[in-house]
Symmetry: D3
Subunit: 69 residues, 6 copies
């Protein structure tokens, strides 16, 4: 599957916390930055996500803001 | 200003394209990945964004998806 | 690629309008409903989208609201 | 109320799961596709949502991505 | 139509700028704050929006961030 | 930090509910309207949010819809 989202950041899962319906997944990407995703528990199970898995963060460009100091 | 968004990825602007109302800003972050943001032309002007500027990509965790091959 | 987004609606592109930076893609999905996506012109070109192409609408569940009459 | 969101997909609620603060609502739309929404428990109560209710999925076009195989 | 989005801020349109496909609508809400919406030109036409129209800004709570100084 | 998001609505926190991973924060803004944000518990702790705190709601314009009666 190729997707229109402009941001696909490859990395490895370093933490995964499941809530009642929503899970938080922390991915270490190239350069060492950590990206946090908030996805459904169902998606975690369906994709078989676990700490150590290779995965990518996918982000639509319209969801990215820019900040300056 | 400190913000609740969990993802703040520092980088440098490497490309900036203004449309009629919407601009696309491409930021090179640590590790060399490129992040594309779609923001208003007004924000580009107000923040004084230009190619070469230091800037950060700010992304709410609920806007981040996870994909696996 | 498998993705955490819970909504993947298969269909066929019935209309495609490019703006200065942003394109609107209209997809007819099963049952005849039309789904409109707003994506970058770059994504349209990279995915080779055209009227008549088979494609899917991908939507994160946290971006879906529910309404009742 | 008429809303600017371009996507209003009519259907019937087929599943509803409440978490601590967030609920997942699954809606069967025309053609049989299932759309999942992640909304607040408060909204579920206020709209009186229940399995079997007629409801619509409302989605802003800037939240819809396009994917191709 | 009642909607699950938790934020419905009533106001009056004070500015409206159409781009090639995307329009920016500025709404003055109670207390004088200005809210900017980025919607499709199609929605502007369909809803008959114009400067001076009464309208509401509708925002899903998962799209609202919190910041502190 | 200056951010590209067009909507920064200053107010005071009037309610805060933590779920398993996601918290709901209700902010009273100028004019008395209440804005609800859905953010991570982690952000609540990191920003030291509590009922009575001064805070701002930050919203990207592409996440704001317009509705009319």
């Amino acid at each position: 599957m190729k997707i229109s989202a402009r941001n696909i950041l490859d990395g490895r899962i370093v933490a995964l916390t499941k809530g009642a319906t929503t899970a938080h997944v922390r991915l270490e990407i190239a350069g060492g930055a950590i990206v946090t995703a908030s996805i459904t528990n169902e998606a975690v199970d369906e994709l078989g996500l676990a700490v150590g898995s290779l995965a990518s963060a996918v982000i639509k460009s319209s969801d990215v803001m820019i900040a300056v100091d």
